[in-house]
Amino acid sequence: MSEIIAFVAQTIRIAIPYLFAASGGVIAERAGVVSLTLEGFMLTGAFAATLGSYYSGSPWIGVLCGIGGGLLFGLIHAVASIRYRADQIVTGIAINLLAVGLTRFFLLMAFDSSSNSPRVAGFGVTGDGGALTGALLRNPLVWLGLLGIPVVAWLVHYTPFGLRVRAVGEHPAAAETLGVPVRRVRYFAVALSGILAGLGGVYLALDQHQFTDSMTAGRGFIALAAIIFGRWEPVRAGIACLLFAAAETLQIQLQGMQGIPSQFVQMIPYVLTIVAVGGFVARSTPPAALGKVDA
């Protein structure tokens, strides 16, 4: 029993950043803006949260700063790809490079280190299985992260904003003729994705009580994989996040047994995504206007 609880707790702990990033990414993608940027949003969020928490001593200030960091990068992405109609794949790569460069630059400036920040105040406690559950339950970001997917699902399917997001991502010209402010909807969606993915980074940094260089380590891409594997449906994407996290947990817990090499477990999300886009299981069809700038 306690093993099961430990497994669930560990899975949730790993899944929270994915859930945040995927819930953000799914909105941006449904609005027609490519989300290769999640990795960069997360990294910026994590770094900004560390800065905020370090200088204020309050993790809540850290959260606010992290939101601000994600939002700032979300807006950079939005201006480049919506206002300037830049290729969204290229901007995505640039945003990620920029996030790595800027966080490294300011890590060195602020903390005089090229690898990690000092310990900062956070919510989580890193520890063994028993303590982990309690720490998780007391971490408000865990609850927020678990709520992210249902809220986004509700937003997309049951609100006027969601209807507009879906329309703008499928047929922006049609939305435009009805007076839907296509650009504004997209700006809003991308900004929201920056905030949510940024929170994923905030969780990471505050959970570990520090920022380390490139600490997101590809989590943004796993979230993207979950979105694609979930066929751009928020709930399915959330389930994919949990699935990927469970696989990682399994790998960690089986480590002692010398079973499957860890590299193969790491591959699972990526292989599943390729299988999904290849249409081998159920075809993954992206929003029709995804990545197309012109309304």
Binding site: Y158, T159, P160, G162, L163, R164, R166, A167, E170, H171, A173, A174, A175, E176, T177, L178, G179, V180, P181, A288
Partner: protein, 530 residues
């Protein structure tokens, strides 16, 4: 002129897109409770003018005024789509502006959603759509996904969208292009009902019979300018046509009189033993799970033009693409000069003597960023290459010589082989396609909408080329949405409906009166007159 106060007044409208001047001082005045036809050839600037009225474009110069409910005119120049909608101006676009993945109700309420608290009130959306639909006879299930609708139903959704927003001024851009004659009749009755309810309707069209059928008044545009305004009661088709093209001569080409093709054929092959250059047998083409071509058989002989008439979307595109090798054949056979090419590659068909003027030159016929010279070898590129299996270097000098030659023979302007194709006018772009396809050796020509979107001069040139090719013994399969073009060129006319050929008539038995009902799928009851 209508006695009532105008509902729309546009004056001195200028609009340019880069080097292209779409509107050059255009005018339009429409009275309330009026169905007003805005006519002109393709490219005359009708759609641009109406998009300005609907707030999609801002004019470079000129004023736009719209009548208010109190009967005064309000200057609304340069307003936004949202403003236009708010003021009761709605536009039904030629290419439907519908989100396929959303339901009918979601499409209709988009941008003006009924809410309950923070939530979308979808139940009210559905009941609203149902109510308006019932009121004007626009029946369509609000809960269905738009992707599953027929073309006629999709158009009803478009009209519902404008009515839901309380449109008093309704603009319809070429609404009948995709409709069968029966659906057109239904549309007219809806429009009359709307007018009688107090709406003002502007109908963009280039079909004169529609103008005479439904409109109260007419404005004619040519090359971005307004050239005439008349009341329909006092107008004749000839007068409108003259205003549209600016001269009499074109009227003959546009409106076929009964002096179509005169040659020795009239449905019978020239030689005693018929040699069919193109034979299609029991052809079936499945596209998106639908039998787009549903068992078609025909032959085209050398020295003959077979015209395919029909409302667009009845399988003509798939038929041509299957013969050209651009979409797979489900069953049946295609033969060129007696050789089976059902599963041959495009290149093999080209080498077997097939030439193809595609219906969409911007998508298929030209690589717009390539130069004229590069475009003139498209499909023939291996003949300009050297080395083993012609895989290697292209011979620049021969490409240039070919371009110089064809630019001169087909009068392509400007005569500059190094210009990208996108810089040419529509007519000259089409001449590049024609030069490439008809300038070399071929036996069978597929000509799909060969004069779509080109000016009158180019139409005459292209028709002359097609006639000359027939005289030179080529077999031609002509597909055109313009019945007049079919009647002006074809030796035999086949009517396509629902993926089948439902009748084939020799030219002398084909007339607009007889072909019209056939195009709607009606069985042919008319016996040949002679």
């Amino acid at each position: 002129m209508t006695a009532s106060a105008p509902a729309i007044r546009m004056n001195g409208i200028h609009k340019a897109f880069g080097p292209v001047h779409a509107n050059r001082g255009a005018r339009l005045q429409v009275g309330t409770r009026e169905i007003h036809a805005l006519v002109g050839e393709n490219g005359a600037g009708k759609s641009t003018l109406m998009r300005i009225l609907a707030g999609l474009y801002a004019p470079d110069a000129g004023t736009v005024e719209v009548g208010t409910p109190s009967g005064e005119l309000r200057d609304v120049t340069g307003w936004s789509t949202a403003d236009a909608i708010k003021a009761g101006v709605g536009m039904v676009h030629q290419h439907f502006m519908l989100v396929r993945t959303l339901t009918v109700a979601e499409n209709v309420v988009l941008g003006r959603e009924p809410v309950r608290g923070a939530m979308l009130d979808i139940a009210r959306a559905i009941s609203d759509v149902k109510r308006i639909g019932d009121q004007y006879g626009l029946r369509v299930d609000p809960a269905r996904h738009v992707g599953d609708l027929s073309v006629g139903e999709a158009q009803r959704v478009e009209i519902l969208k404008t009515l839901f927003r309380g449109a008093r001024i309704l603009i319809l851009d070429e609404p009948t292009a995709v409709l069968s004659p029966l659906e057109v009749k239904e549309l007219w009755s809806v429009l009359r009902r709307l007018r009688d309810d107090g709406a003002t309707i502007v109908l963009i069209t280039h079909k004169l019979d529609e103008v005479m059928d439904v409109s109260d008044a007419i404005t004619v545009m040519r090359q971005g300018e307004t050239v005439a305004r008349m009341d329909t009661g006092a107008a004749t088709p000839e007068a409108i046509a003259r205003a549209m093209v600016g001269r009499d001569v074109a009227l003959v080409t546009m409106r076929k009189e009964d002096e179509g093709p005169r040659n020795s054929l009239e449905g019978t092959p020239r030689s005693a033993a018929p040699r069919f250059a193109l034979s299609v047998n029991s052809l079936v083409v499945t596209s998106r799970g639908r039998r787009a071509v549903d068992g078609i058989s025909f032959d085209v002989a050398a020295g003959e033009i077979l015209g395919i008439a029909g409302v667009e979307g009845n399988g003509q595109t798939e038929l041509i693409e299957a013969i050209a090798g651009l979409c797979p054949v489900t069953s049946g056979t295609i033969a060129l000069g007696g050789r089976d090419v059902t599963h041959a590659s495009v290149r093999e068909r080209t080498e077997a003597g097939l030439a193809h003027i595609p219906e969409d030159r911007h998508r298929r016929g030209l690589v717009l960023e390539y130069t004229v010279a590069e475009n003139l070898i498209l499909g023939d590129q291996h003949h300009y290459a050297t080395g083993a299996r012609r895989a290697w270097a292209l011979d620049g000098r021969r490409i240039e010589a070919n371009a110089t030659d064809e630019i001169q023979r087909f009068d392509i302007r400007p005569p500059d082989a190094e210009l990208p194709a996108r810089a040419l006018s529509g007519g000259n772009q089409q001449k590049v396609v024609i030069a490439r396809e008809m300038g070399g050796a071929y036996e069978v020509l597929l000509a799909s909408q060969p004069t779509r979107g080109v000016d009158v001069g180019a139409i005459e040139f292209i028709h002359a080329q097609l006639r000359a090719a027939r005289e030179a013994g080529k077999a031609i399969l002509l597909v055109s949405a313009e019945l007049s073009e079919i009647l002006a060129l074809a030796d035999r006319v086949a009517v396509m409906y629902g993926g089948r050929i439902i009748a084939t008539l020799p030219r002398r038995e084909a007339s607009e009166e007889r072909l019209g009902p056939l195009m709607t799928g009606a069985t042919d009851t008319t016996r040949p007159a002679a």
